[in-house]
């Protein structure tokens, strides 16, 4: 086989280019920590990474939604706790104005306390988070009840409830129909308290008992709704745990797809550098060898 001038450079040069390319690839992997910089580096991995990044973005969003829902539910929970306390206060006040030994002044004090409870419950039920009323159903720009002078309006919200998605298949309600809390039997708590205050003033024990029964019903309803809120907290916590696990798994898959194995990349860089030096030396030494050098 004749080794010609051009062919003695052709393959070694191609080998040199390949060695330089390989070295550049490992250099980039080591410096960036990534294995995929362009789709052609690994088309399947690049496409897979897009799916994983989308999954991670969705998980982050659901986690954000869980935070937002939790904030609203915390506010609702605080309202419900206070409302239950106010109902207890109302029952105590009503009981204190009951009976034949109670003086008119004591009756008036008890009626005043009941009116104060109505005010407090009204303030509670009108709570808003970021400008959105929690107890107006989806009519979140409208307060559930309004007060004009001494008159408290009927329910102004609607019967729909706002839901937030915690996952693709899981959602929970973050707004409430105030009637489910303060008007379970049709009559709202404000009317009940107003009637109760009047009954206390009048010393009408029968009406007081009816009012107390009404308050009990509201109490039951508020407790039931608070229990739902508690369940929602548990759902959020459980969902957070699940999202954490899913996020971790997705990050692991993404890392496998696009991150460089640093040990492999570093050893690849070292070996490709050695190969490159060897190729350079081989070309250099081959180029120097010629019979012409021995002609005198």
């Amino acid at each position: 086989m004749r080794i010609t001038f051009n062919s003695s450079y052709r393959e070694p040069l191609a080998d040199l280019e390949r060695a330089a390319e390989r070295m550049a690839v490992y250099q980039r992997q080591v410096s960036s920590g990534k294995r995929v910089h362009r789709p052609s580096d690994d088309p399947a991995a690049a496409a897979g990474a897009i799916g994983e990044r989308a999954e991670l973005a969705a998980i982050d969003r659901y986690a954000e939604a869980a935070d937002s829902a939790e904030a609203r539910l915390r506010a609702a929970d605080a309202v419900l706790s206070d409302l239950i306390m106010q109902l207890t206060n109302a029952k105590v006040a009503a009981q204190s104005g009951r009976g034949s030994v109670v003086t008119p002044a004591q009756r008036e004090a008890a009626a005043g306390a009941l009116e104060a409870v109505a005010e407090a419950i009204l303030a509670d039920i009108r709570v808003s988070v970021a400008g959105s009323y929690l107890f107006s159903g989806t009519a979140s720009t409208t307060p559930p009840y309004a007060k004009t002078g001494a008159t408290i309006s009927a329910y102004q919200g609607n019967g729909s409830r706002m839901a937030v998605d915690l996952d693709r298949n899981e959602s929970l309600y973050v707004s409430f129909d105030a009637r489910d809390v303060v008007a379970p039997g049709g009559n709202d708590v404000f009317a009940i308290l107003e009637a109760l205050a009047a009954a206390v003033r009048a010393g009408d024990d029968t009406a007081i008992q009816a009012g107390l029964d009404g308050l009990d019903e509201v109490f039951q309803a508020a407790t039931k709704v608070q229990s739902e809120v508690g369940n929602s907290f548990r759902m959020i916590e459980s969902q957070r745990d699940r999202l954490n696990v899913l996020g971790l798994a997705s990050k692991t898959r993404l890392s496998k797809l696009e991150d460089a194995n640093m040990a492999t990349a570093a050893s690849g860089l070292a070996s490709s550098e050695t190969l490159y030096r060897a190729a350079l030396a081989a070309i250099g030494s081959t180029a120097r060898l010629s019979l012409l050098d021995y002609l005198k």
Binding site: R2, F5, R38, P39, I50, G51, R61, D165
Partner: protein, 459 residues
């Protein structure tokens, strides 16, 4: 004395022949790296004796030739267009895959996620002015990302067309040069140095032409070559070349014509074939894919948005414009009326400000299988496009490397016959130098013998 004089002239003839050999070695060494150069070989023959008592007249040069393996040369002409085609595809798509985004296509997918996230936040706070503005901002960013990538694909098509035009110009220049070389061959007698040089140039130029377009080469009896495209349309016939022309038809497709005939389908390889494949097949496919994705986003979002209600309780309008598939990516934008008024964003499924069901439904589109008969999500569609582009570049790069390895092997085979070996030339140089020294010595001996004879005659 006559014999001595004959020996003297034979030695002189031999010295001339050896000198020619040395000149050829010099020429070979000087052109060892010249592209297309075929080594020259001197054919020597002993000068036959003229009588029974004649030893012969030394050595003479029968001729100089340039050995060539035409079979390998033809294989090279077939193989190099295939390597160049893959190289052109990889180079042209290299810019496209970069345009898809950093780290392997992070652009549309990130904007899609951000857009659906913004609707998710709006669902959390359907009456929030900030959330409404964010939806519009992310919608505009998504539309901008689609437009930007569509523009890059358009630019890539325009660049490919520029490449086609300049390659066609180059083809015409080379075809014209081959025709001139064909014409020039006749001026040099067969076996002359000039003819060998022109033949070298002819095949080298044909090789350069084959890198640009797939050709068929037919050698004539006089050494000239005719060149046609793969379908037989002529580029060079003898001393005449026939230009290839590139133009755009009414639909914006590239048409290649040769003597008025459409030869587009005949060009499948070489740099021209690669550029044509990128411009006419791959890029339109990618553009269509992008348009399909953009149109799906527009249609799905618009359908839900139009069915919803804005903050003031009025029915929602379209979110994105326009709605048609062809060119959807290039012209995608947030509806200008909507963009000017965040209150018009429809987050509700009923005319209640705090309802968030439309926002939830739009946010849920991120996972909805709305493409390819309900089998593919929007993100999947984008990932498929990224995969297609990456796979094409990867395949073309691999194929180019494989083809180039074959080309290099064929070049090595060609060089085994035609290439210059420095060691061989050095050996020839040494051999010819020794031969020259011996002949010169022989010449000196004969000359001295004659001198002795002349002195004897003079006494």
């Amino acid at each position: 004395m006559g014999d001595l004089l004959s020996s003297l002239s034979g030695a002189a003839r031999s010295l001339d022949a050896i000198t020619i050999g040395l000149q050829v070695v010099g020429q070979n060494v000087a052109n060892a790296g010249t592209a297309g150069y075929s080594r020259r070989v001197v054919d020597y023959a002993a000068v036959a004796p003229t009588g029974r008592r004649d030893a012969g007249g030394g050595v003479e040069v029968l001729g100089i030739r340039a050995p060539r393996d035409l079979l390998v040369a033809r294989q090279l002409l077939e193989e190099s267009p295939l390597a160049e085609r893959e190289g052109a595809v990889a180079d042209a798509l290299g810019t496209v895959e970069v345009a898809l985004g950093v780290g392997g296509g992070q652009s549309i997918d990130e904007r899609l996620s951000a857009f659906f996230d913004s609707f998710g936040r709006l669902a959390d706070q359907p009456t929030s002015a900030v959330a409404r503005q964010e939806v519009l901002t992310e919608g505009a960013s998504l539309a901008d990302a689609f437009r930007r990538i569509a523009a890059r694909l358009d630019e890539a098509r325009a660049d490919a067309y520029s490449g086609v035009v300049s390659t066609v110009d180059e083809i015409n220049v080379l075809a014209s040069r081959i025709a001139e070389l064909n014409a020039g061959l006749g001026a040099h007698p067969p076996g002359s140095g000039g003819r060998m040089q022109m033949t070298d140039q002819l095949w080298h130029t044909a090789g350069e032409l084959a890198k640009l377009v797939d050709i068929r080469v037919v050698q004539r009896g006089d050494g000239a070559i005719d060149i046609t495209l793969s379908d037989g349309h002529a580029l060079v016939i003898g001393e005449n070349s026939y230009e290839l022309e590139a133009s755009l038809d009414g639909d914006g497709h590239v048409r290649l014509t040769n003597l008025g005939a459409d030869v587009t389908a005949a060009v499948t390889a070489g740099r021209l074939g690669g550029l044509m494949h990128v411009r006419e097949a791959l890029l339109p496919e990618f553009q269509q894919h992008l348009d399909t994705l953009a149109a799906a986003v527009v249609q799905e979002v618009n359908t839900l948005h139009s069915a919803g209600f804005d903050l003031t309780g009025n029915p929602g309008g379209v979110f994105f414009t326009p709605s048609g598939a062809p060119g959807a990516a290039a012209s995608m934008a947030v509806d200008p009326t909507l963009a000017a008024s965040p209150d018009l964003v429809a987050a509700a499924s009923q005319a209640v400000a705090g309802d968030n069901n439309t926002a939830r439904a739009i946010a849920a589109l991120r996972d909805a299988r709305v493409l390819e008969n309900g089998s593919t999500t929007l993100h999947d569609c984008w990932a498929n496009l990224v995969y297609r582009v990456g796979r094409e570049v990867d395949s073309a790069t691999d194929a180019k490397a494989d083809r180039l390895a074959t080309v290099r092997q064929l070049e090595t085979l060609r060089d085994q016959v035609s290439g210059v070996s420095m060691d061989e030339e050095a050996a020839n140089l040494q051999r010819l130098q020794r031969a020259y020294q011996a002949n010169a010595q022989f010449f000196t001996v004969i000359d001295r013998t004659l001198e002795v004879l002349m002195q004897m005659v003079a006494r």
